[in-house]
Symmetry: C2
């Protein structure tokens, strides 16, 4: 089930099977001048992206996967096949089953077909890398750029260690300092130049040291490829070590506070090699912390860092997972994020649709009170 079934170019839509790989699909769609914008970095399957509501670098302008799914075909736990949604971008006919299945991580039904929204390939783009004295200064600039109404296609933050790893492995010569990578998409070069100029002014107010704008097509592709590969580069550097990851997201005005909290949380950690980076344009912070030592040390780092950063994200009005989903590891934050009563509603829906708990059991929802 890996076929691109239809392309409705005039409607900016495609119908896909779940096994189709996202990058493979986008190569075909480029012939129509179109692309599927949510971009998790890896060459993920469309089914996985939809089940997980995947996102990535291009979310500030184009939204997450959930925002780009119009209709689904789903096999239910009892084997019945249903269709939800339609090809109309506007629809108000009954309960929104489509968005219920998106992000349900396979626990409510198996997605066998999806109608997705596409975007026109940008006529023009401009990219920039900016170096900052501190991660917090970079985060402040992000908050202010978004608050000023700038609409970047991508706006990534990296701490000095992450920039250093990219330099070392990919032969970039970026200053080894906290950085922002920006990209704007637009209809005209003039609009983009105006946006870049406003971005530069805001970055300057937050102590930006080096603002390298107007990166060419090839250098831009290399930069984004390297950014996407960070999650593969680092495990090679620390071959043999396990890492603790993070994926919290907050309202953009709270992003500087989140970055400060994450930085502070790293300070007390035992033997560990931390990297902070993320999709700053929508308040989404990642971490990879490589841990020396045994399982107990790993668990200590995981609990100390994640519990603190998740608690900070929730306190700041955010979420324990911006794009990676709940799976097993984050079930323990579900009640803190949603409250016990909302989790009961999720359980009620799960039981209504899958009474025998056949579909991806043990994922997303925490055990209920009173259960074994």
């Amino acid at each position: 089930m890996n076929r691109l079934l239809s392309v409705y170019a005039a409607d900016f839509q495609a119908v896909v099977q779940p096994g189709l790989l996202y990058k493979d699909m986008n190569r075909v769609l480029a012939r129509h001048g179109l692309f599927f914008a949510p971009d998790p970095g890896a060459n993920a399957s469309l089914g996985g992206m939809i089940a997980n509501n995947a996102a990535g670098t291009r979310t500030p302008k184009y939204g997450a996967t959930r925002d780009n799914v119009l209709a689904l075909e789903v096999v239910l736990a009892d084997g019945q096949v249903i269709r939800s949604g339609s090809r109309s971008v506007k629809q108000s006919a009954g309960y929104d089953l489509t968005h219920l299945f998106v992000g349900s991580e396979g626990t409510l039904g198996l997605i066998t077909e999806a109608t997705i929204r596409l975007a026109p390939l940008p006529a023009h783009f401009s990219a920039a890398t900016v170096a900052f004295p501190t991660l917090e200064a970079a985060a402040q600039a992000v908050s202010e750029m978004i608050g000023a109404g700038l609409g970047p296609a991508a706006l990534e933050i990296l701490d000095a260690a992450s920039v250093g790893a990219m330099n070392g492995q990919e032969e970039f010569e970026l200053p080894t300092m906290p950085a922002l990578f920006l990209e704007f998409h637009g209809a005209t070069e003039e609009t983009l130049a105006a946006e870049l100029s406003m971005a530069q002014a805001i970055c300057g107010e937050h102590g930006a040291r080096a603002f390298e704008a107007g990166i060419g097509r090839e250098a831009r592709s290399r930069l984004w490829a390297a950014r996407h590969q960070l999650g593969e580069i680092l495990p090679r550097v620390y071959a043999g070590l396990r890492y603790v990851g993070a994926d919290v997201a907050v309202p953009i005005s709270a992003f500087p506070a989140l970055a400060a909290e994450a930085t502070a949380a790293l300070e007390g950690l035992p033997e560990a090699h931390p990297y902070l980076f993320g999709h700053a344009g929508d308040g989404n912070l990642h971490a990879m912390i490589f841990v020396e030592g045994d399982d107990s040390q790993y668990e200590e780092v995981r609990a100390a860092f994640n519990d603190r950063v998740v608690a900070a994200a929730l306190r700041l009005g955010g979420t324990c997972t911006g794009e990676h989903g709940v799976g097993i590891g984050k079930r323990r934050y579900m009640v803190a994020e949603h409250g016990a009563e909302a989790v009961k509603v999720m359980w009620a829906i799960k039981r209504a649709l899958d009474p025998l708990d056949l579909l991806n059991p043990g994922k997303v929802l925490p055990e209920e009170e009173g259960e074994e």
Copy 2:
């Protein structure tokens, strides 16, 4: 419960109570340079807009209400209060209860608070009215403008009768011909001029007779006020007569076929005064057909017109209701649109959340097979 509880200007968000009226709120938000973009025309309550997933003229650029709700507080049938979602624009933590409650028309819970997304007031706008020889020609131009990647803030279609009604009541001097009303929002006047110029070229290819661009601020406000009042003007013209309404939506490439089908469906109708108009930019067609005669004649018109136009919309990949919702009248199309199995899933969710059927009973979902 009609208070604007918080404005998070830097995050483009507000927290509102359900009784707050949309136009009243936007007057306050204007002081922050912000507005809530979904625009049903009437001064609707936020709670009503959310429960119904209301939309209107500004959907092509800004989305419907569903696309602009981040979090809810909901009272469940058993009196428990839950919160869904968060203030993070990116969230993947569990089932998407927020979008399940949006558009559920009060049948799953009572919305008591909402966190909504705002947009910056446009720095510049341009508007135009365009006259066409036929409704189908206007619809073809719409399909082509959207397909070309133009992103209008509003793109309305009106048949000659609707334009005539606006002229008669509001002292416009528009040609009494099928028309499009366009509006673009943007950061610079240059971008808008380029978009208007492309729109004019496409309209010209479809026989546009009069393209009046660059309408000033006052004339533009008057034009949109009159367009929004069409639904109040017409019942005054036909005081005493009942009318049949319609609210179907299709993929934009199918909009010309839908317009043709609706025009054809009017031909066989008995004593009736029909008006076709709609939010063409997202494939959403409305009708108001004033019926002479008694109830049986009214029912005849309703069945003949609506059944045919809904069937056409579904055949074209669309929906029986783009923005008005299901209520009572459109329950009979739910199985045709979603299939019996998907309606069963909606019923399963309704039973799980409201087993005693206390919340707005008899709405949205059709009676199940075998029920009385």
